[in-house]
Amino acid sequence: MKFGIVVNEGPYQHQASDSAYLFAKAAIAKGHEVWRVFFYHDGVNNASKLTEPPQDDRHIVNRWTKLAEEHKVDLVVCVAAAMRRGIREENLAAGFRISGLGQLVEAGTKCDRLITFGD
């Protein structure tokens, strides 16, 4: 199965991005494809490379980057939502790209299932 995932909340503030990540990992472990993760609303903050959590906490941003590297997951940040919130190419973490809302629609049309994680 081909999965698309939507993340609507920022990291650390809400469990949404943790839940989305664990869902993605579980899907991949079962042999499915996670084709794209689309970050919308405050979810765009998952892509900030300026993120520095305390040492004993999980690093949510790096976790996404690693997922993209190891499993070719396409991490897309909504440009309009990102501009509103100060996420730019210059502070974008590795593995993420900024693009339009059309990428969300495309995830809906191309994936067998689109799962939303938000508040």
């Binding site: 079962k30 799962i115 994680f117």
Partner: protein
């Protein structure tokens, strides 16, 4: 349809709205919605009623994280994240009641 709920029914109406509108399918309680599946909570009666119409699942890691792993209402099925994935496949579509 898989109905995914992530809010406690004691502070938010998502689960109540889902139960009012949804006609069939499975319900998965995640994040703060897991409180709905614990014995003695004020929503228990409504959840038990819903269990006649829907199969109800709870995301076990979220329940365990909240210290309520031993309070699961009988008849609600605990699943891990892999089980969550399976539920999105066994249902034709899904909706997160945000």
């Amino acid at each position: 349809m898989l109905h995914i709920i992530n809010k406690s029914p004691l502070s938010n109406s998502s689960l109540e709205s889902c139960l009012r509108v949804a006609v069939s399918g499975d319900i998965l309680l995640t994040e703060d919605a897991v409180y709905a599946a614990t014995s003695g909570n004020a929503f228990e009666g409504k959840l038990r009623e819903a269990m006649g119409r829907f199969k109800v699942y709870v995301l076990q890691p979220d329940l365990d994280a909240r210290g309520l792993g031993d309070r699961l209402i009988e008849g609600v099925t605990g699943v891990d994240h892999g089980g969550f994935v399976d539920l999105t496949i066994s249902n034709n579509n899904c909706q997160s009641w945000l």
